[in-house]
Symmetry: C2
């Protein structure tokens, strides 16, 4: 590791990161604007984990900085770090954002000529829970981290970021930012949007009907319990790719409705069979 690690943002992802790094025996500082989550973290006994509410103080001389705030705040944080002149030469900066093209573009622009290196990351950990209370040091273990270098990315910084996530027990995979965003639009943002839609279509008319539901509705809609502010930001940051996936879903829904209206069983069976085949082949079953 690169000396002191600084995590900016004490939510579920940032807090868990602080705990995980400290658990490896490496010094780590978690910075946050609000005091409550920092107080929550500082109650956890660890000689490696510190908290700090002064951004410049936290970041000064860090070897690795991880942005773990909402994605909309990240460019502003980077600008403040540059303006405060606290970035050590060769410092490596990465993030945990769910959308990569906008942040990678912003960061490369803001950090140009500062000697700091940015490498975009998307550790695919987390859950429908949010906030520091849900943080745990094992959150990242065994999960996949997508790292999104571009041609301008510094090779050593990329290796450092790769090693960092691997040291926390993650599997890593590299893919360009735009392709990353297309992938997560399909496998994460679309399922999230439609899970929220299913909740409304299933229950808005008569919420008490939920008492008759079993595991199907619960699982199909689980992600819809995620943080609405965070997810609204993610969906809009990835607007183009998410809209493409939603319009594709709209066409599929029209086909399904026509299929149901026709009353014929064969096309309906085919629709369900193709989905089952895709899922059983490509989506890992629950252990």
């Amino acid at each position: 590791m690169l000396g002191r690690t600084v995590v900016l943002g004490p939510g579920l992802l940032g807090g868990s990161l602080g705990l995980a790094v400290a658990d490896q025996g490496h010094p780590v500082v978690v910075w946050g604007r609000r005091l409550e989550p920092l107080e929550f973290l500082s109650k956890i006994e660890s000689s490696e984990l510190e908290t700090e509410s002064d951004l410049a103080k936290a970041a000064r001389g860090a070897g690795l900085i991880v942005l773990a705030t909402p994605i909309g705040v990240m460019p502003d944080l980077l600008e403040r770090l540059v303006a405060a002149n606290v970035l050590a030469p060769g410092v490596v900066i990465t993030d945990v954002g769910s959308v990569k093209r906008p942040i990678v573009e912003h960061a490369m622009g803001i950090l140009k000529g500062t000697g700091a290196h940015f490498v975009g990351s998307h550790p695919m950990a987390g859950s429908e829970a949010s906030g520091i209370e849900a943080a745990r040091k094992e959150l990242y273990k065994g999960a996949l981290c997508l790292i999104t270098p571009i041609p301008e990315t510094d090779e050593d910084a990329l290796a450092n970021v790769r090693d960092f996530w691997i040291s926390l027990g993650m599997r890593v995979h590299e893919t360009p930012p735009a392709k990353h965003d297309e992938i997560v639009a399909r496998i994460s943002h679309l399922p999230h949007a439609l899970a929220s839609l299913v909740v409304g279509a299933a229950l808005e008319k008569e919420p008490s009907w939920a008492e008759f539901s079993a595991g199907g509705l619960r699982d199909t809609t689980r992600v819809a319990s995620g943080d609405p502010a965070m997810w609204a930001e993610i969906l809009l940051e990835n607007r183009q790719a998410v809209l493409a996936a939603l319009r594709d879903s709209q066409e599929r829904l029209e086909d399904l409705i026509q299929c149901m209206e026709s009353g014929q069983i064969e096309p309906l069976q085919r629709f369900l069979l193709e989905a089952k085949a895709l899922r059983d082949t490509h989506i890992v079953p629950r252990c």
Copy 2:
């Protein structure tokens, strides 16, 4: 219990029912057309559980008959039982079908004047697995059974059916068949159809992207691994109510797309927040 119980259909639901009844120490016969599942069942050591491939033999003198075949086959089975003249006077017949108005109407018509009493049931047990290999005697325990009497339903038969499901550890609730079908269209059939839609929209373009997915896609689409033939039948049997739910979803999807196109965050946050509030209040969280 009413003397010998006969289960027609040796799939996941019928097989599990045979195992559960035998486990209570009551004699039970499982009938099936195909020999393989019967052979599978007969290998399970139980002095109470018998299998039979002759329908008339199986049903003759039964106290309770449970239809556990695909719903499309149920009317035909009832007609064969009446034609074979094997129904004991006062025999109680119920079923495990996921759609209730068609089968209750058919059954009441077919059994009229025979002295047999029909009571519709929908034990909400099962999973995305199917077939006798997945059968287990605890399948029904703790789950909810919707019982769908109509004004003509025999009161004693209703009490017998209620007691039967309770004896297997189920919670029971009574609701008219048409209302049942509206409820399950919203809380079960709609989520199933949209889970299948999500699989296609997420993966059809590039199935290998599934390797980047985590628990979200897996859970959102879990039910799409269900038996396509069985589910096509369920969706079409409940066509009117499912179409209403799908058209409602279509409107919601149009709204969501407009909302994304506008690029405004507030309406998107409201959409996600309303879904989260409904889910967190009304859908039981995973234990």
